[in-house]
């Protein structure tokens, strides 16, 4: 994919790891749990950043690919008895294969047709879980989790709470995902994806195999989504209500709010989607809001933010943080 890994990217990834690890130590258990979800969403949104932001293919069904990762992980854990991290890796590989199959179809489609197809897949996955109940557990789902923290870790850093353990288990995978994404953005591969996004014919004239690039993008993005889905399921349950269509839309919302073409934006978007309800709750805590308003406020605010972002600041939070013209278009 890339001839050499960038040293700078490794340093940035390590800084990311250290920062999150630090916050994992100082946050209270609830926010440790929320930070875990931020990391999972971050990886999920990265799949959209790569697929849509970098290569220009629209997907409304990343939640379905997360489900592929989640179910694979649960089945591997429950049937083969492998550890969570082995299962996560297998899940990512299976998701790559699923992405390849999807990519073959996707490469022939574009725009609303592609969006519609991926949306249908997101709708269909929960039905499959119910149709093949003996395998996928039906509506009840498959119960899996990260288990207990290993003794060596508790010995090294002291007593670890359950949420903290979840965070520390997810963090290495999020760091690896960040490192890979940073390198893809900087590599020749990333440049070819961007070329396809900006002008397919021009890209083709430069010798880029457009179809192959599109399929490959889907494969890589699916790997990211599957990785996120596996860890999302390991929080407690893998089932249809864990990967609803609204999950795909939440990821897309996070990607747009954070900045569709930016890795930092993926993180900002994930943090916003996860912490926005808490923030609203904190602000409106003393207000006497009717449930008809209060219950729907987070969805309403994110909807308004989404519209404002698209109209006023298409580059999202990451774009707004630039004091100069965005570097990549």
């Amino acid at each position: 994919m890339f001839k050499h890994f960038q040293k700078g990217n490794a340093i940035k990834s390590l800084i990311f790891f250290a920062l999150i690890f630090y916050f994992g130590k100082v946050f209270d258990p609830y926010n440790q749990g929320q930070l875990s979800v931020v990391l999972i969403y971050f990886i999920g949104i990265l799949s959209i950043t790569l697929l849509t932001g970098l290569s220009g293919q629209i997907s409304l069904g990343q939640g379905a690919l997360m489900a592929v990762g989640g179910y694979t992980c649960a089945l591997v854990v429950l049937n083969l008895g492998l550890s969570y991290w082995q299962s996560i890796i297998i899940s990512a590989v299976v998701s790559l294969i699923a992405g390849w199959l999807l990519g073959i179809t996707a490469a022939r489609l574009s725009g609303p047709y592609l969006a519609g197809t991926t949306l249908v897949i997101a709708l269909a996955i929960p039905s499959l879980a119910t149709r093949f109940e003996s395998v996928f557990g039906g509506d009840v789902g498959l119960s899996v989790d990260f288990g207990n923290p290993p003794e060596w870790l508790s010995g090294a850093i002291g007593e670890i709470g359950y949420e903290q353990w979840q965070l520390f288990a997810i963090l290495p995978f999020a760091t690896i995902a960040l490192f890979l994404a940073l390198n893809i953005f900087k590599s020749r591969t990333g440049r070819s994806w961007r070329a396809v996004r900006d002008h397919e014919i021009a890209a083709s004239l430069t010798g880029i195999n457009v179809q192959r690039v599109k399929i490959f993008t889907f494969v890589v993005a699916s790997g990211f989504a599957g990785l996120a889905g596996a860890m999302y399921g390991l929080r407690g349950i893998v089932g249809p209500s864990v990967y609803p269509v609204s999950l795909s839309l939440a990821l897309l919302t996070g990607a747009i709010l954070g900045g569709l073409r930016s890795i930092a934006g993926a993180f900002f978007g994930a943090a916003l989607v996860v912490f926005l309800p808490d923030l609203i709750d904190k602000i409106t805590g003393g207000w006497e809001l009717a449930p008809q308003v209060g219950d729907y406020l987070p969805a309403m605010v994110s909807g308004i933010l989404l519209i404002l972002t698209v109209v006023l600041n298409p580059a999202g939070i990451a774009g707004a943080l630039h004091h100069h013209k965005p570097r990549h278009k």
Binding site: G8, N9, K12, I15, L19, F23, V26, F27, D28, P29, Y30, N31, G33, Q34, V37, P126, S127, T130, E133, G138, D139, V140, G141, S143, D145, Y162, E163, L182, F185, K186, G190, R191, R194, R235, G236, I237, G239, P240, S241, V242, Y243, P244, S246, L247, R261, S262, I263, A264, F267, A271, F275, D278, A290, P291, Q292, D295, Y296, L321, R327, H328
Partner: protein, 466 residues
Amino acid sequence: MNIRASLSRKKLIGLTAVLIAGSMTLAEIPANANSSDVSGTSDIVLGMQLPQTGLASPGYNKIDDAMRGYFDYVNSKGGIGGKKIRLEVKDDGYKAGLTISTASSLINKEKVFSFVGSVGTQTHIAVIKDINRRKIPDVFVNTGYTEFYKPATYPTTFAALGTYVTEAKIMGKYLKETYADKKIGILYQTDDFGRNALKGFNEAGLTFEKKKTEASFISGTQSNPGLGSQIGQLKANGVEIAIIAAVSSATAVSLLTASALGYKPEKWVVISVGADATTIQTIAGLRGIAPADSAALLKGLISASHAPAPGDSSDEYVSAFKKINDEFNKGPDKRWDNNVLQGMNIGYMTVGALMGTLNTKTVFSAKNNKTCQANAKKGTLSRVCFIDYMESNGSKINSAAFSALQYSATTHEAFSGFWIGAYDAATVLQPVGGTRVVYTTDSGSGLVTVSNYKRPAIAADALPKN
């Protein structure tokens, strides 16, 4: 074209600053973070998760307001031993991924003493293991899913409903005896609820034929057009007695779809959790059906209940709870119905269990008796003693139900008794045959028999006396 997308130094510094500021805002660790006991006059904080929004919310989103209404009433009377009850509710939208976060919020932010009355099988599965691992009481869960109530697996979880198997067995026996010469069919949602109900009917000797008298749909898809073909299947196969084992919103859609298709079975039979008349009529109203028309649709529909019908104004529990609901329920929709009655009843049972745990005369299990009595004398409410009380004194927790709670060391199932009724023109469930007969059975292969349970009267102040 500049292709760099990495974080610049400035951005890294900015990001770090944002994260540090965030951590300072978010990381609020109370000094008593590890204490789960409630002592002195501290509030008893209870947590609840349910769908307040989304497709699964209609009807169920009234239960929490009713519970809070009852707790506010108790607080107005001085609380329990000077302790006020506070109910913290989180909306999970019936999305299990969100349930995990809301449970974490209730546990770690709100520091709940116990979960109470949570709604939703699929969603509760996502957190039940974690709640039990932390030894947090998880009482009066609003689902009849039998797997939750096995103490060996989930020692802190207790049911608020009779199991779907129990109810279906009782209904099945009634249908088999009353409509022996009729073709009986079923429409059920393909989750634990529907499947457990199917199991109960089978246990009672009713059998169905797939693709003919047995139709199913994926739970949560009741708004999809596919339900029409399932109803059409029952119609095409001449089903005369049509059973529905689905949530109220799905029951409403099924009845309306059947009406549109011109399908009128001799009797509709609906499992109690899906037979709330108010919810069904509200959904029908949203589709432009006048209340009189939807009432006509419900007339004659057979259902069952473990509690009195909400429309039974002669029932002392109904009268007492209705009065409290009128005065203390601050919810947006406090119309009196099954869901509000259920919420009030859970509030009543919860208060009874809390009072019993704090009663110095209570005898707990041999293992915990000494500690729990000492706690009661000090006025300290502990989780271990609360769970112990539920398990060893469950039958002493009174309620509006016509059946005692079954809690013991071997089962945490709730009610084993149901009576069968049919809706009248005013959508009040009236006993079939004119007299209420409560039947009882278990979730296994036990026989269905007439219950001899005598429900204790409610006190004049509508407070339990545990």
